[in-house]
């Protein structure tokens, strides 16, 4: 059977690209005009507000203290808190929002592979959240170190290798958004409410208190391992994490998490039905 009856249709590759871009565009529009966006703005912007208040009230005079504070902010606030909740809220709603709004059939009735639909929505989520968080993160750095003067900042960034570290930290955020987002996406496909997130957060936040074997079953353990600038923080900080995974173990963990949850999502999506009356 010829399922492409008109001559207006473009070649497969162009058509697929167009379809991906359309769904990404749709996803971004859906995020930008919803209450969830306020969650992103507030959680991502809080460090910016705190740093500004600190600078205005009692500026940090020591460069070492400033670096230490910035690192702690990244490791504790971003990795252990804000990214988790941002990824949970946005990742969970990737499919769930379409179901709750009863608009899923508009996507599923199109001649687009469902895997492509969910991949494009996932990509749209990454684009929106990572762009904003990276911008807020870099702006936080800029505000925190501006009191030391531009020359000091330039030396820190380009001679002390801080620029590379910042890029690496943005990459770690991307990874965190991707990993937590993948888990949340699957949960949003299975569950109607995000109650699982409480349990998941307690698990991830409880990392320092878990036995060493169980630490390897948390995502944050691997995120901490690949975050640069460990030397800035005291050694006692890292005792909580126990043995730090190697680079190979981190890469393997990422592949396993993304592969498992991504594959599970694709499996579930293929069998998913538009049954709004039961949601």
């Amino acid at each position: 059977m010829n399922n492409q009856p008109t001559t207006w249709l473009s070649p497969n590759s162009i058509r697929r690209s167009r379809q991906i871009l359309t769904i990404v565009n749709l996803s971004i529009r859906r995020y930008l005009f919803t209450r969830n966006m306020w969650v992103l703005i507030i959680l991502g912007g809080l460090p910016l507000i705190f740093v500004t208040l600190i600078i205005l009230s009692k500026p940090i005079t020591s460069l070492t203290d400033a670096n230490r504070a910035f690192q702690m902010t990244f490791r504790i606030y971003y990795i252990h808190f804000s990214i988790f909740f941002i990824a949970s809220i946005f990742g969970f709603s990737l499919l769930r929002k379409e179901v709750d709004d009863r608009t899923l059939h508009y996507l599923f009735m199109q001649p687009v592979n469902r895997s492509l639909i969910i991949f494009s929505k996932y990509f749209g989520y990454i684009v929106v959240t990572w762009t904003y968080l990276s911008a807020a993160f870099l702006l936080t750095y800029f505000i925190m170190f501006l009191p030391f003067g531009l020359n000091v900042m330039k030396r820190e960034l380009f001679h002390m290798g801080r620029a590379v570290s910042l890029i690496q930290e943005c990459f770690v955020m991307l990874l965190a958004l991707g990993l937590y987002g993948a888990v949340s996406m699957v949960m949003g496909t299975i569950f109607k409410s995000a109650w699982y997130g409480i349990i998941f957060y307690l698990w991830e936040a409880g990392l320092p208190y878990l036995p060493s074997t169980f630490k390897y079953l948390t995502i944050s353990q691997y995120l901490q391992a690949i975050t640069p600038e460990r030397s800035i923080l005291p050694a006692s900080f890292f005792e909580l994490y126990g043995d730090i995974p190697t680079a190979f173990e981190c890469i393997l963990a990422v592949i396993i998490v993304v592969g498992f949850f991504g594959g599970l999502t694709l499996f579930l999506i293929r069998r998913y039905e538009c049954r709004y009356s039961e949601t």
Binding site: M1, N3, Q4, P5, T6, W8, L9, S10, R15, R18, Q19, T22, I23, N25, L26, R29, R30, F33, D101, R102, T103, H105, Y106, L107, F108, M109, Q110, P111, V112, N113, R114, R270, R271, E273, C274, R275, Y276, E278
Partner: protein
């Protein structure tokens, strides 16, 4: 278009837990316009969702142009579906809504824009193109759904209660739109619980009740199979009382009832062919002037009522 069925339903069943949606439906939908009839809860929307691949069959399968539709996204190039759900991307304007979803079908920008604009013109929403869907009335929302379904002229248009929410003029326009779509050689499957609206568009029907298929085919042929129910023939003539007396003498007339207006009568007969034969003989022999003869129950409503009675017995 040849006579090959466009949709084939093979032992199709769907349950929601213990609740029956549709059960063991075996039917073929021919080319043209087909009406899917049944009261609320009959399983029409379930059947349409199964036909359009939005629900997975519990048993059996639904095939569109010979290919199973479930999880067959490529077949959606040939399908356009207007669902019963009154939900949209509310922040979008009408043209944005159509443009975005048409983009998913793989057309270039210029063609997508053209198709979207043409679709809005067909449903007479061109003046509301740049208005947010969230501000639309119920009738406008219904029309935008139909616009999306038929925008790129799919081979099969599936419409679930498309006349809901439309005023009298809107209903008339929509019926004409659907009839024209059928005249263009395309196929339409339309559901409704309002029988005369379907009757205005087609004689080809599928009747559902409580999840079961009660009848399929031309409404007149279906009627002819209902041998338990005598045909009702409406006759308007100059001398109804005399004519009624003459009819009683015929073996093929079971009963004759005079109409309240005093100018017509309704005769019931199991054998329509014999009745017509004798009717002609009476008219010629006794010189009775007849102005109208019509079978008053060869219509969807009567057939549906008869079938519903049979189902309950």
């Amino acid at each position: 278009m040849n006579g090959e069925p466009i949709i084939e339903l093979e032992n199709l069943s769907r349950w929601y837990g213990e609740i029956l949606g549709v059960n063991r439906i075996n039917a073929t939908i021919p080319p043209g316009i087909t009406g899917l009839l049944g009261p609320n809860g009959a399983g029409k929307s379930t059947l349409m969702n199964l036909m359009c691949g939005l629900l997975r069959p519990s048993q059996g399968r639904a095939c569109v142009f010979g290919e199973p539709i479930w999880n067959n996204y490529k077949a959606f190039y040939r399908l356009g579906y207007c669902t019963q759900h009154d939900t949209f991307y509310e922040s979008m304007t009408a043209i944005e809504f159509l443009y975005m979803l048409l983009s998913l079908r793989g057309y270039d920008k210029k063609t997508t824009r053209l198709l979207a604009e043409q679709a809005l013109e067909r449903v007479k929403l061109q003046e509301a193109a740049n208005k947010r869907i969230g501000s639309f009335s119920k009738g406008m929302r219904q029309r935008i759904k139909v616009a999306l379904a038929l925008a790129d002229n799919p081979d099969i248009l599936v419409l679930d209660e498309p006349l809901n929410g439309l005023d009298v003029v809107g209903r008339h326009d929509m019926i004409e739109l659907i009839k024209n779509y059928g005249r263009e050689g395309r196929n339409v499957i339309i559901s409704s619980h309002i029988l005369h609206e379907i009757e205005a568009m087609t004689n080809n029907i599928l009747m559902l009740s409580h999840g079961y298929l009660m009848a399929e085919g031309d409404v007149r042929e279906v009627r002819g199979l209902l041998k338990r129910h005598p045909h009702k023939v409406f006759i308007r003539c100059a001398q109804p009382r005399r004519f009624a007396a003459l009819l009683f003498e015929l073996n093929s007339a079971n009963s004759v009832q005079l109409d309240a207006d005093g100018e017509s009568l309704v005769a019931q007969t199991f054998d329509l062919d014999s009745f017509y034969l004798h009717l002609n003989e009476i008219v010629l022999e006794h010189n009775i002037h007849i102005s109208l003869v019509t079978v008053s129950d060869e219509n969807i409503r009567a057939v549906f009522e008869y079938l519903s009675e049979s189902n309950h017995e």
